[in-house]
Structures are given as C-alpha cells and as structure tokens.
C-alpha cells in the first residue's frame, strides 16, 4: 500500500507544482491559461502590470541572478542562473483579458544565438576600429604631404 502511495505521489507531484509555477517560475494567482506547451506558457491576469511586477519581485526576492529590464512595451525578466525557465515577459498594455505574461523555457537556441551574435559583434568592433584607422591614417597622410609640399 505504502509503495502505491509513493508512486501516486510521484505522479501527482509535478501536476501540483505546475499549477503554481512554470519550471520553477511563479505564476500569478488568478492566471488564465492562454497557451501552454513544454517550451512556453502564456497566461493573462486581472492584475495590472505593476502588480504583476511586484508579485514577481516579491516571489523571486531570494532568487539569484535575476535581471529586470524595463522596456517600452513590456518588462523583461531574465534568469542568468541555472533555473529551468529563461524569461518572463509582462506586457505593459493590458488586453481585453487583462495583463499578458509570457514565460519561456531555458533554451540552448538562445544561448547559441547570443554567442554567435556577440562573436560577430567582436569582428564588427574591430572592423570599425580598422576603418577608423584607415580614415584617420589617410587624413594624416594627406596633411603631412601638404605640409611637406608647402615647406618645399
């Protein structure tokens, strides 16, 4: 009997925890599911943007490596630690159903994408320095030449 109870507990536990969180990230109490998949969870809530933001700040006060970004149309919360989720986006403009919150699973595509882009960006920075050197070099060369011509 005890064995069956433990098995049942293991089956039910993820379901129970999923009701309150998405991969460890809390979900607002009156959340209405809009879309739910393994990679993403979208819900709406009657709470305002500021209330949702306060809710997350309070719930995740003890979480390490959480970053809050205030964007024009939404607030972006990102986990730079080792949580199962990667981001939570809270829209600033409430729709008919209320404030929309999109939670995304931590994904390798984000990591690889950002790494490749940043590696390319290093090339871009050095290319711009290269161009800057070329242009300034050309200006100085012409200046030196004209100065020498004047002397002659």
């Amino acid at each position: 009997m005890k064995k069956y109870f433990i098995v049942l507990l293991f089956i039910l536990l993820p379901t129970v925890s999923f009701a309150d969180d998405f991969l460890g990230a809390p979900i607002a109490p009156d959340a209405q599911t809009v879309n739910k998949s393994e990679k993403q969870f979208t819900y709406t809530t009657s709470m305002s943007h500021d209330e949702v933001l306060s809710f997350y700040k309070e719930k995740m006060a003890t979480f390490e490596n959480i970053k809050y970004r205030d964007w024009e149309e939404e607030t972006y919360i990102e986990d730079d630690g080792s949580m199962g989720w990667h981001s939570i986006i809270i829209s600033k403009e409430p729709g008919e159903q209320g404030t929309q919150v999109v939670m995304s699973k931590d994904s390798w595509s984000w990591i690889m994408g950002t790494l490749i882009l940043r590696y390319i960006a290093v090339f871009v920075v050095l290319m711009v320095v290269f161009l800057g050197m070329k242009i300034s070099g050309a200006i100085i060369s012409s200046y030196v030449k004209s100065a020498e011509a004047k002397k002659a």
Binding site: D80, R118, Y119, V122, V125, L126, G132, M133, K134, I140
Partner: protein, 381 residues
C-alpha cells in the same frame, strides 16, 4: 598561582596560535602556493605575478592569520583592504592597463591594420568555451568569466570575473596567468598542426614607417570607437589608451615613466598578493577550480586555432599573404605570443623575422578580448 591556573593560562595562549586551529586541507593550499612560487623562481614563468600570487596563497592559508577578513570590531584586515579597494572597486586591472598602454608601441598594428581582424578571430575559444562551461553546470555569468581566460589577458579576466562571478576570481586569475606563462609550451604544437610547410615559409612585406601624428591619433580614435560600441569596457580600454597617448605625445615623460615603472610595479604587487589571498582552502578546494584549469587550456588552444584560421581565411582574399604563424599571436599574451611566432618562424626559415608582424595581431588581441568582455558585460547588464 596553582598548577591548574598555570595550565589554563598555557592552554589559553596555545589556543591563540594556529597550531590548535589547524586543518589538513590547508596543506594542499600550501603545496599549490609553493608550486607557483617554484614555477616563478626556478622556471621563471611569469615571475612578476606568480611569485606574489603563490605567496598570497601560502600566507592566507594559515589558521587565524588576520589577512583576509574583518576584525571583531569590523575593521578590514590588510589584504581585505587591498582586495576591496583594488579588485572589488576594479581599480587595479584598470591602472595596470594604464601602465600597459604606456609601454605599448602600436606602430606595427597601425602599419598593418588588417591584422586587427586576427585579434577578433582569436576570440573563438572564448565563445566556444562558454558553451562547454554552461554544459558543465556553471551559471551564465560564471561561464562568461571562465571563458574569457582563453583571451589570455590577465587584467581583462580579472575585470570581467570581478563584475560577473567574484567567487571565481582566484581560480580564473590563476588559470589566466598560468596559461600566459605556458604560451611557449602550448602554442607551437597547435601552430605546427594547423599550418603547412609552405605557409610557414611565407615572408611578409616589411612594415611601413608610422608617423608620430598617426600614433597620437590612434588611441583617441580607438578610445572613441570602443566608447561608442562597447562602453562597458571603457574603464579598461580608456586607461589603456590614456597610457598610450601619454607615451606617444612625448610631453609627459615623467608621467609615462611612472605609469610604465613605479605605478605598474606597485599594482602588480597588490594584484598578485590579493589574487593569491582570495584562494583560501574553503573556497578553492572544490571541483570548479580544477574544471576551470582544464577548460582554460582548451579555451586557450581554441583561441590559438581561431587566430590561425582567421589568417588562413584572410589569405584567400589577400594579395600580400600573411604568415599564419602570426595568427596565434591573436591571443593577447603580450609580448609572449608574438615572440613565439618569431621563434617558430625562425625554425623553418632563419631569415624570416615575424616578430613585428606578430605584434599587430597581439595588440589586436588585447582590443579583441576587451571587446569580448564588453559583450559579456552588456549581456548581463
């Protein structure tokens, strides 16, 4: 006074000594400290840094020593003061960059600016290692700080680690400086594997003379561009370029001399001993530092490969070919990596002097690794 009272008194005195507070794990740290001091003294591997680092590790791992921490009344102890103001406030890496700038001649890079691209290509390992570190269970911030080791730039590694993952400062700094010291051992094997005999024989055109005006304008242009594109690293790059401007302007000889010598030496002492002091047995003896050392080697090797590959790709489009042996100098171990290019070039052709050609990518590597660090800082800001 009774015998018991005398014994209690003796007991009290003995308990204030380190002997009664001794733990076995400190012996491993003494051995690590001794190893670094041995490498510095006997093998002359980066002695200016490995000696004070080794001593810092050794000294801080004695029980009850009032070096790293706070007194009961809350006053910081000696090395804690150095650590707080020097590293936590990110002063030391920036001031060291001022000294490095004052010691650097950018002439070879200005004469052949396309070698800047090699400095970018050599950051390959930094981004590849990031992935490996995340896979191993490090957080993204820790992964960024570990992966910058491959750029082989000590101050940049310390600057980034202090910003993103200060708990890894000792291990990262030690790995960065160890691999910088081991450039002549690691790079030649990779250089040989990555190049053909005919490529190693490529003779490069003599570099053009660079005017004083160009040398003065370079730090200003570079500082402006970096400030616009990667503002996060301007404390480092700004100081680097200020040091260089002081040198090239020629009007502040006293300041340049101080930056190159006294100031640089003072900072090096503080940096070394403080980095060593962060490595107490409690924080250092875990799987992470060992993993950092292992991954750092791969990181450094991939960066070397990245530099050589970049030159090979560039050669597909260039009329005047670049010897791929200078590609390995794209890691910013200045000037060791450039010297290795010279030595390897001479092995295959005694008349092929690559030193000045390798200095360009070497300096580009400094800018490249700072740009990569800036990308990581921006990622987490």
């Amino acid at each position: 006074m009774s015998v018991n009272e005398i014994l209690d008194l003796l007991k009290g005195i003995l308990h204030t000594t380190g002997v009664f507070n001794f733990e076995l794990n400190v012996i491993i740290m003494w051995a690590i400290g001794a190893l670094f001091m041995y490498l510095a003294i006997a093998k002359k591997y980066e002695p200016l840094l490995l000696l004070p680092i080794g001593f810092g590790i050794f000294a801080v791992n004695f029980p009850l020593v009032p070096l790293m921490g706070y007194t009961e009344s809350g006053h910081p102890q000696l090395l804690e003061v150095f650590y707080h103001y020097g590293l936590q406030w990110e002063v030391i890496p920036c001031v060291i960059f001022l000294g490095l700038g004052a010691m650097t001649d950018f002439g070879p890079l200005i004469a052949n600016p396309k070698t800047l691209i090699v400095g970018a290509g050599a950051q390959l390992g930094v981004f590849v290692t990031f992935t490996g570190t995340v896979l191993a269970g490090f957080t993204l911030k820790e992964a960024a700080s570990v992966s910058i080791i491959g750029g082989a730039d000590g101050p940049t590694t310390i600057y980034l680690t202090q910003k993103l993952a200060p708990q890894l400062l000792g291990a990262n700094a030690l790995a960065a400086y160890s691999y910088m010291a081991m450039v002549p051992l690691i790079q030649p094997i990779i250089m040989k594997l990555m190049t053909t005999d005919s490529e190693r024989q490529i003779k490069m055109k003599q570099l053009r003379a660079v005017s004083r005006q160009e040398k003065i304008l370079f730090p200003l242009v570079t500082c402006g561009i970096i400030a616009l594109l990667v503002p996060a690293v301007i404390p480092l790059m700004g100081m680097f370029m200020l040091g260089n401007l002081m040198k090239e302007s020629g009007v502040v000889a006293r300041l340049t001399d101080t930056a190159q010598n006294s100031l640089m030496n003072i900072m090096t002492i503080f940096l070394g001993v403080t980095v060593g002091a962060t490595m107490s047995a409690d924080s250092f003896l875990s799987w992470k530092p060992l993993f950092i050392f292992g991954l750092g080697l791969i990181d450094f090797a991939v960066c070397t490969v990245g530099g050589i590959l970049t030159v090979k790709i560039m050669n597909l489009f260039l009329k005047d070919k670049i010897n791929p042996l200078v590609g390995s100098a794209g890691v910013s171990a200045v000037p060791m990596a450039a010297r290795v290019s010279q030595m390897e070039g001479m092995k295959y052709n005694k008349t092929n002097h690559l030193l000045m050609h390798a200095v360009g990518p070497n300096l580009a590597g400094v800018i490249g690794s700072a740009a990569a660090a800036g990308m990581f800082i921006a990622m987490f800001d």
